[in-house]
């Protein structure tokens, strides 16, 4: 009976140092540190907040190294605890925790029971290298919650749009990536996961398109990127897995960059409505460059890092359905980021009232430097991918032929924005159900059920006695009839 302590000791002694794990860990750590620095320069936070953030990032960076289930579970929970501490320090802690923690704990419970099944089957506490053999469904749902896959994404959308901007930067870096790493580490590769990833990437992009506020817009793009990653790391093909892992590192960089940009531009433009922001291009050169770099990366334009992983994924996935889905998602991504750049930065027209004079909201040099560093990082990860992840089969994002083919779909997306955006948006608004319609239906059904159950406990002791008599009869019947 090897206990928790023994398992933890084992984790420390024999870390899991497969190259993909090391890359993910380093990506989380590097970006986590940058994000912490960004927040430190951006606003003042309480000590407790810092404790939570450091635990969150640290545990996230530690997780890939764990070699057994007990360690994996404990560190997985530490990530949640860190996030919970961070959320406690937010202004609307009550509502945030209510939205965040139940989902996370549901994931934890599922993961725990899945691990128990695996342990029961294999008799060993070690994590099998080729994915678990038992309890796949439970573990799958657990990592899907953590990765904010589409029907289980509500916690993320509802949390990330309610926290303060800096906090969103920290949270966007770790939580969902942990879930994706869970898919990589725990689930065996299959075509189902590839297609699932493709579907999620596409649907999330469609939802992102109809958002008119900045942070929900970014949140849905996180989900879309997670779809790409799932398609990659969930594939049975080795190259696709590597591409998926690299794609896991890329959005950490460019997604964090975009969150930082948004965190800085909302106070400057005084609005979080995409259509009302404007004129950023004439206000801050660095921010504009950063936003463009982020948008190019996420749209998969060479030579930025998004291009490397996306093109690798396209070429290595087993299922053609998934490939097509990812193509559609790529066009949608380009379209929506064209929209973002156009309204926020490039659109000509009169500037709205200046908000940047308000105290404490001026963009500080330090934060600008960090966005610049991240933009550079996005570029470098595209130019010299092997220096970051030695297992990659490609050496650079700039080769003549690939450059042109890489540009095709992003340009198509950008063109769509200028030609057909209005009709597309109208179709989307009509056809897509509101992302929380299903959930609210489920919720009301659940509430009804609970009310019914509560009404059955009417307080009449005679009814309770009747239940007890009935239960006894049930036991007796069983005894008489059972062999």
């Amino acid at each position: 009976m090897s206990g928790i302590t023994a398992a933890l000791a084992q984790t420390v002694n024999t870390p899991y140092t497969e190259p993909g794990a090391v890359f993910v860990s380093q990506a989380i750590l590097l970006f986590g540190l940058l994000a912490l620095a960004f927040v430190a320069l951006h606003t003042k936070r309480s000590t407790l907040w810092w404790v939570g953030a450091v635990v969150h990032v640290g545990a996230g960076a530690l997780l890939p190294y764990t070699a057994n289930m007990a360690g994996f579970f404990v560190i997985w929970e530490l990530v949640t605890v860190g996030a919970a501490i961070v959320l406690v320090c937010e202004p609307d802690a009550d509502g945030l925790l209510r939205r965040y923690l139940p989902w996370q704990l549901l994931a934890a419970a599922l993961l725990l029971s899945g691990f128990a099944l695996q342990f029961a089957e294999s008799g060993s506490i070690a994590l099998p290298a080729a994915g678990v053999t038992a309890g796949r469904v439970l573990i799958g749902i657990a990592v899907a919650i953590k990765a904010a896959l589409m029907p289980l994404h509500l916690w993320m959308v509802e949390t990330y749009v309610r926290v303060r901007p800096g906090t969103a930067v920290i949270l966007s870096a770790v939580a969902t990536k942990i879930g994706v790493f869970g898919v990589y580490r725990l689930l065996p590769g299959s075509i189902t996961l590839e297609i699932l990833g493709g579907i999620i990437a596409t649907v999330a992009v469609l939802y992102a398109l109809r958002q008119n506020r900045l942070r929900p817009f970014l949140a849905f793009h996180i989900i879309s990127q997670v779809g790409y990653m799932i398609a990659g790391v969930g594939s049975a093909a080795a190259v696709a897995q590597i591409a998926g892992l690299y794609h896991l590192g890329n959005p950490i960089a460019y997604k964090g960059l975009l969150f930082m940009v948004v965190a800085l531009m909302v106070p400057m433009t005084g609005t979080s409505n995409i259509y009302s922001t404007r004129g950023m291009g004439r206000r801050s050169f660095v921010l504009t460059v950063a936003a463009i770099a982020g948008a190019l990366s996420i749209s998969g334009v060479p030579p930025f890092n998004g291009y490397i992983s996306k093109s690798l994924l396209q070429s290595s996935l087993v299922s053609p359905v998934a490939v097509h889905l990812l193509t559609i998602a790529g066009i949608g991504t380009a379209l929506s980021f064209t929209k973002f750049l156009w309204h926020g930065f490039l659109r000509p027209g009169p500037l709205p009232q200046a908000h940047d004079v308000q105290e404490g909201l001026i963009v500080k040099t330090g934060t600008r430097t960090i966005t610049a560093v991240l933009s550079l990082l996005c570029l470098l990860m595209g130019l010299y991918p092997r220096s970051f992840f030695a297992e990659l089969p490609v050496s650079t994002g700039i080769t003549g032929q690939s450059f042109l083919s890489g540009l095709t779909w992003p340009i198509a997306g950008a063109a769509l924005f200028f030609i057909l955006y209005g009709p597309i948006l109208r179709v989307l608004l009509v056809t897509l159900p509101g992302s929380n319609t299903v959930v609210s239906l489920l919720r009301s059904a659940g509430t009804r059920g609970l009310q019914l159950m509560q009404r059955q406990h009417s307080g009449d002791i005679r009814r309770y006695l009747g239940w007890a008599v009935g239960g006894t009869l049930l036991l007796w019947t069983w005894v008489v009839l059972a062999p």
């Binding site: 307080g459 009449d460 005679r462």
Partner: protein, 113 residues
């Protein structure tokens, strides 16, 4: 024959007691139903002890056949416990009557849900 009679009585009393418990609203009637059930259980105990042609377990000649003494001892203990429970229930009914102003059990619905 006597075994059968007592057995049927025992079953009938149990049925009556449980039906009463489930249907009567008056608390004191519920207590009475408990007493009926208790009586049925005691009858059962006595029935277990009974055997034909056996005498009561008061020893006069060692060779006599006696009924089982143990169930009788158990029944005695059960009677005392049952009486105590009855007393406790009656006390509680008195207090419930004072606080709720009713002796009907379906009016006791402060706690529910």
């Amino acid at each position: 024959m006597i075994v059968l009679t007592i057995g049927i009585t025992c079953i009938a009393l149990t049925g009556i007691g449980i039906y009463g418990l489930l249907r009567r609203t008056h608390m004191i009637r519920m207590v009475l139903c408990f007493n009926i059930l208790e009586a049925a259980a005691l009858l059962g105990l006595v029935l277990i002890a009974y055997s034909p042609d056996a005498r009561s377990p008061i020893l006069r000649a060692a060779t006599d056949a006696h009924v089982l003494p143990l169930p009788h001892a158990l029944a005695l203990t059960a009677i005392v416990i049952g009486a105590s429970l009855t007393a406790l229930m009656l006390t509680l009914i008195v207090r419930v009557h004072r606080s709720h102003g009713t002796v009907l059990v379906d009016k006791l619905k402060d706690w529910r849900g």
